[in-house]
Point group: C2
């Protein structure tokens, strides 16, 4: 089994009520990768500038992430600077400096193309479609997107959606994509656009999985300490897709358990800045928290 | 077993994207009662004016609600007029005419005082405390409140909270009551104020139960059609307290199942205006939907 992720590798400056961290490791592909390496073999496709600290490259390599697809370019690494409200109910982007990420044209190394599973983190939908075409015979393609592409590139996004199996977006994006106020109707609309499965991420309110007429819902892990929600959605996707790749199945049981793993994995990520919470947690920790989720909802 | 509810009996004018209903049956005590009669014997304490339609009195009586505690006074019945945003994410109160409800001083008829369970819907905390003292030996006292009393009557509310077992509020109210941004920490703070159990109602995001160090979480029923969320919280409490009274137990299993019944019951209420959805549903419907909730969260 192996899992390719294509997306941003970034340096994040994050301000929260707990404190501030400057130019720490971030980016969707990193959060996804480090989560997914607890489950399966992960191959990363991304781009970094000449300011990217070698210690972060080592950190990813030490987690077992295959970095053959990590391109190095002259210029600055993608830098995001954000500030969270004290109650984490909203965040403000203070700076989004694309740097070398602006010229990112993902090219999969030969061995990547045979991978069983692909995750397209949030990048231009044309690039996402192009990556799909580079794969030989993927069993499962997951995809993320955002309001910027939904509003700005609807045609390109529609084409990409027709090529993917699983879409992971939040509730506002699902409603925006379909023009529906009601989330269940929005989800049906999304499934008519191509994906067989939709995961709606709702942050502290948990996640919903739509597959045909089946719905699965899981609350988030109630946490008494949230430090940095950055990357929670990508971490969720890493746990979920990592599990699906590892079990080599995409049936209802695997999908539901994947959502539970994603929920558990994300709960470790938000408890510390950057990837620190994720890195400190073992696979046993993920398994134990997934079991605690079962107790959380049992009646 | 029997269950006393004290609270508003109202005429509601409700505007939603689906339509408008003028002066239809509403009020916390009505939503609660009609939900709870599916589970146990319900005795209502409330006040109505001389404009209150007899058909609504009959409707409550026909559901088996004991109306010995329904006071009739000269003047207007409490009237609330509200408008919901098209996506139901918020609502605006256009009019709140208290009428005879302004002089409501709940007095429990003799046979009510022996009831096993009491629910204090959202009224002045001093009135709530006074009702507690009228009861002989209640096994379980549930209580609701709102930001208006949390901000305006903190001392009276603190006294009431020291007298009740179960508080049902929403997440913003829990944070406001304790000055905490984090919901888990807010919940711990609430439990230190007196109640042994806290239910945090999150509308379309479900509910959380805090009991000692135990947490139970349940998503709301995903609905493809919401018509009128008015009274959802009181309906939830009616289903939950109704179940707890009927099973004559307040252990972890009963509380969890109570939250599930509350969730299921509320899902019928929001699907129609006023109490229409609730009235149309049978106990079998509640049981079936509670079972569907188990499937919804199972993995």
């Amino acid at each position: 089994m192996s899992l390719v992720v294509v997306g941003s590798v970034a340096l994040d400056t994050v301000e929260t009520v707990v404190g501030t961290r400057k130019r720490v490791l971030g980016g969707a592909a990193c959060f996804f990768s480090v989560a997914a390496t607890r489950f399966t073999e992960v191959k990363l496709v991304g781009i970094i500038g000449d300011d990217f600290p070698e210690e972060y490259v080592s950190l990813l390599a030490d987690r077992g992430v295959d970095l053959a697809g990590l391109e190095r370019a002259a210029g600055k690494t993608f830098h995001w600077h954000g500030r969270y409200a004290d109650d984490y109910s909203s965040r403000e982007s203070l700076a989004t400096e694309l740097g070398v990420f602006a010229g990112f044209t993902p090219e999969l190394p030969g061995p990547y193309r045979e991978a069983q599973t692909l995750f397209l983190a949030n990048i231009h939908p044309e690039l996402q479609a192009n990556v799909c075409q580079q794969m030989t015979s993927p069993r499962l393609i997951g995809c993320d997107t955002m309001d910027f592409w939904i509003n700005g590139e609807p045609k390109a996004l529609a084409r990409t959606l027709s090529m993917v199996d699983l879409l992971t977006i939040n509730d506002e994006e699902a409603c925006l994509l379909t023009g529906e106020h009601n989330l269940v109707r929005a989800a049906r609309g999304v499934l008519r656009m191509g994906p067989r499965y939709l995961v709606v991420k709702r942050g502290e309110h948990g996640a919903l999985l739509f597959a045909g007429d089946e719905i699965f819902a899981l609350p988030a892990v109630p946490l008494d300490r949230v430090v940095d929600p950055t990357g929670a959605g990508d971490t969720f996707a890493g746990g979920m897709l990592g599990h699906l790749d590892a079990v080599d199945a995409v049936d209802a049981a695997a999908l539901r358990r994947g959502v539970a793993y994603g929920t558990a994995t994300a709960s470790f990520n938000v408890a510390e800045f950057s990837l620190d919470g994720l890195i400190a947690a073992t696979r046993d920790d993920f398994d134990a928290r997934t079991e605690s989720l079962r107790r959380l909802v049992s009646f």
